[in-house]
Subunit: 197 residues, 4 copies
DNA sequence: TATGAATGAGGCTTCATTCAT
DNA sequence: GATGAATGAAGCCTCATTCAT
């Protein structure tokens, strides 16, 4: 009985996952606005109606996708932190680690940047990937400022926003440079810009 | 007869302008994707059909709006340049000037960033506001590198892309800080990050 | 004064003619349904509004064009008739003469055939070019029947309708045969079919 | 499950049929160009959107209607042929049989004749009903010419085109004569015109 | 009389959402 | 729970027609 329930739950979970994957794919291929629920479900090889057994809107799918990614990013970043490093080293480490994760899930980033513009229900869409991992950056920056490693004439929020912006726009970069390398260079400039001299 | 033609032309120009203004307003309020042509024309207090006497699509309106702004930005930046300044001063000046212009036309920036994602006809929408003013930034950066004022271990393209990113994302900033001040702080960090020590 | 009035009248007549010509051209190029009044007036190099100074609808233009052609057809046919010919010879002559005229104004024929199907106001469109020249054919057929030259077990109306049909459909013929020759052959069959043996 | 699928499919087929019938009716009543999709669906007592579950355009409906009829015409004609008849008898039989079928489906004929003129997408509309049944006529004519029953100074193509034209235009006849009788008389003339004496 | 900008009705099409099976 | 046909709101666009100049 429990087994059966478990199986059922698993099956349900499977369909949900199938939809999420199909949606991610379609979003990546055609963009959020140009992806219809019918399109997602066709890609998922499931009936249209099934969508509503799991989600109530396209926005919710996006939300879920982003939450998943965000959680993974955070998990990775948290596991990377160590205490005996300089704040600059720590921040660089975090930035590079984040770059790698984003690079492996590029499709989601553009979505976050612009999805709120696309949707009829912008209020349902978080402004960015940041909640969580932005916090982490801020914590490191604060640490650096407290230790006198980073300048403190600029609010930490500004700095973390600037890091954030690097990720957002580099995802669209037309320069002939790998994403992670591009990020690395920009982070170098930023770090030099905030280190106390 | 010429008078008559002139009057007509003037009125036509006015209507066009009315539509552009209404569109800008609506785009700003609801985003590009969520703005309908009917909505624009209602805001313009004109019939729906009139729209098509002036533009063939929403995309064309966006294009026009952006071209107008871009031209103004360029005009302003070009007139701002002086020769006896340090490259850092020059770059800062340009950045601040640009910030001011964008601040006064905020509606257009988000559009440029993400409009291509919104539209069924992305090919008709330029990727960003940059052509022109990005070039200017690059020129100043190069000048700085040649004079030994700026580090040259990072390609100028990367730096100008970074500047660009600052504008793009600051437009969405949720921080409790005026746009221009926000930009100013970030530019300060960036400048300190690229100045040779 | 009279001169002036005449001149004015002439000018008015000219504009009207310009519109008719432009309309004929556009009808020929794009078909009746796919031709807009704006399109006609653009081809005529005249303002849209001017159209309504001369016609009240596209249908009326078609009507006028057809009337003009019909009148020319009739004029030609009437001038061709002679009395000492056999009815068969006369009918053949008329058919060939008509073929020539239609061949020189091909554009109008397709219109007549299908225009009534296209229009919102079918009642305003004559079913065919026939009124007038169909009458003429009927007269010749009757003459032939009275003289015993043509079979009389078939109503003249049927025969003239059959002649009519030859013109209508041959205009669309995909066969590799000149229009007039094609008509000639069909008329030969028809004549042999109605001659008394 | 299979039952369910079957039931669904059946219902779907029914809806499709309903739309086709409604469309045929509307086409017949108002002509192809003057029939709107909304009109069709209103006649079908179905929602407008439902149309697009079955067809992608009015043109496709027409195409389907015509294909159906053509297939029926061909089926009937083919089953009518016998071998021991004279070519004239055979041709007459075919003509009358065709007349009957067309008479029972009058709406479709006018469409085929002129639909290409009506539509924005003429390339999608076959030029006429003929492919198939025109070929059949040609075959009979050739047979007659080879056996010396029909004149051979006129190409078979011309003759079959002439037959074709009879159907096309008789459909519009204003004469006070039943369609099939009208056709019969014309075919008599034609047969007498092509029989060798 | 000539003009052409303004208009809105009307057609087409898409798609999120519902609901009966 | 899975399905997919049905739906109609909503957007896009065209175009005949009007009217002020």
């Amino acid at each position: 009985m429990a087994e059966k329930g478990g199986l059922r739950k698993q099956k349900k979970f499977q369909a949900r996952q199938t939809i999420l994957n199909a949606a991610a794919k379609q979003f990546e291929l055609h963009g959020f606005a140009n992806t219809s629920i019918a399109g997602i479900m066709q890609a998922a090889q499931l009936g249209v109606g099934t969508f509503y057994n799991y989600f109530s809107s396209k926005e919710e799918v996006l939300l879920t996708l982003s939450k998943n990614l965000r959680e993974e990013v955070e998990r990775n970043i948290l596991s990377a932190g160590a205490d005996n490093q300089s704040s600059a080293e720590l921040l660089e480490l975090c930035c590079i680690c984040t770059a790698r994760l984003i690079d492996e899930n590029r499709f989601i980033l553009p979505l976050f940047i612009s999805a709120s513009e696309h949707s009829d229900k912008p209020e349902q869409i978080p402004q960015s990937l940041s909640p969580g991992f932005r916090e982490l950056f801020k914590k490191i920056i604060l640490r650096g400022q407290e230790r006198g490693e980073f300048r403190d004439d600029v609010p930490p929020n500004i700095i973390s926003e600037m890091i954030h912006s690097i990720y957002q726009t580099t995802a669209f970069s037309k320069l002939n440079l790998p994403f992670q390398e591009n990020i690395r260079l920009k982070v170098k400039i930023l770090l030099d810009g905030i280190k106390t001299r």
